[in-house]
Amino acid sequence: MTDQAYNFAYLDEDTKRMIRRAILKGVAIPGYQVPFASREMPMPYGWGTGGVQVTAACLTPDDVLKVIDQGADDTTNAVSIRKFFVATAGIAVTEATDKATIIQTRHRIPEAALTAGQIMVYQVPIPEPLRFLEPREVETRKMHELEEYGLMHVKLYEDIAKHGQIATSYAYPVRVEGRYVMDPSPIPKFDNPKLSGNAALQLFGAGREQRIYAIPPFTHVVSLDFDDHPFSPSKANHSCDLCASDTSYLDEVITDDQGGRMFVCSDTDYCATRRAAGHIGALGGQTITEKAAE
């Protein structure tokens, strides 16, 4: 077996046709989960098999692929998926958000604004937003059919009754174009506003659960809330210790066993770009350009 033994982008053409038809129907019905015959991929379920299949069906040899895992380009999941497509599709890869044409993501939307030519591919573990409230597929399907989403509001209300606020902080349910309630994959609710009116096409793939759904560009997406408890995207009340950004989504990193900690951008490309431009946070030390000059 050589690398040439693989078809372009790994999947056979019959499979890609089936996935492509599902993607087109997903685009035509924003937020509706289209069933598809998900294939076994050479990675375990939960590692992005749905996203990988959607990416494989969309890739052309001219594409530049970026893969992020919780915002980072250099974590195991991102690196292995990037390598997978370099090996099976021979495409170019990048870590720069603005240079990518397809961005496969696990649980983040990049900080930099996306552009019209780009496609975001989300890896989705549980595509059904109602699944933890109603385990039966026939029932959740009927609820979508009838637009019966009261249960979701009860869940958010119970958050308020228990915690005084809506405590759901990730995989925060949204309503797409006033019709389907959709799980935006486990992105932090900080990212929810970016789902709406985004210039990029957003595709969602759930491999184990065998569903594909989509948000076309410039689609109206609303995070569910109440008049007296409006939706509010939240982040750590801190600025990035490396690049001093006040607006990016932050990860908290424990640095020792004495209670030491630092907050850093979850989007590594955004953080590195800012540091290269000379922004230094409280614990940032030298900038990359200063280090290079030494």
Partner: protein, 189 residues
């Protein structure tokens, strides 16, 4: 069998199909945008764009309906050889090809089920030309407004009123393609 049926497919299927799909995806996700589709050629009267869509999306699991003047022996043989798609009546089709007039009455086509709205037909409507003028389009995929030379507006308004049910359309002319999903709000010309 007419030997013409054997030629006109992709010469490098994985790569050509990927480019063709991206063009179709762009067209459907941005209604009013006109994309170029080429790579396959079929016997007349099938356009290059429609032939390319056919070899990109059809296979043995997608029943296809050929309407009116597109229902020729040569075209039946070409689609059967290149895609293996069964040729069926309008009601059973997941894809249909024809001019807008030949596809009438449009109510024949599947619009999906309330619990499975994806089980709806995709119509490939052959047009003399397509241009960014005519009916005003708004909705998902469109930032403010777009315009597209639709054959009529009443049928597409009625189709959108069925949302989330309804059929989806590709309009093809020569090597050009434009998309009109059921989600698009069609205004007046």
């Amino acid at each position: 069998m007419n030997p013409d049926a054997l030629i006109g497919g992709f010469t490098d299927a994985p790569v050509q199909a990927s480019h063709a799909f991206r063009a179709a995806l762009n067209a459907l996700s941005r209604p009013g945008q006109i994309e170029t589709l080429h790579g396959a050629s079929a016997p007349a009267p099938l356009s290059t764009a429609a032939a390319t869509l056919a070899v990109t999306l059809f296979d043995a699991t997608t029943p296809v309906h050929l309407a009116g003047t597109h229902d020729t022996a040569a075209l039946r043989a070409w689609i059967t050889f290149h895609t293996g798609a069964p040729l069926v009546d309008a009601g059973a089709a997941s894809f249909a090809i024809g001019t807008w007039a030949a596809l009438q009455p449009i109510q024949r086509f599947a619009i999906g089920l309330p619990d499975y709205p994806d089980r709806a037909a995709t119509l490939i409507v052959e047009m003399p030309t397509i241009a960014k003028v005519g009916a005003r389009l708004t909705g998902p995929g469109i930032e403010t407004e777009a315009f597209l030379s639709l054959p009529e507006t009443a049928a597409f308004k009625a189709n959108h009123a069925l949302f989330p049910l309804g059929f989806d359309c590709f309009f093809t002319a020569g090597a050009q393609v434009a998309g009109l999903p059921r989600s698009t709000i069609v205004g007046d010309i």
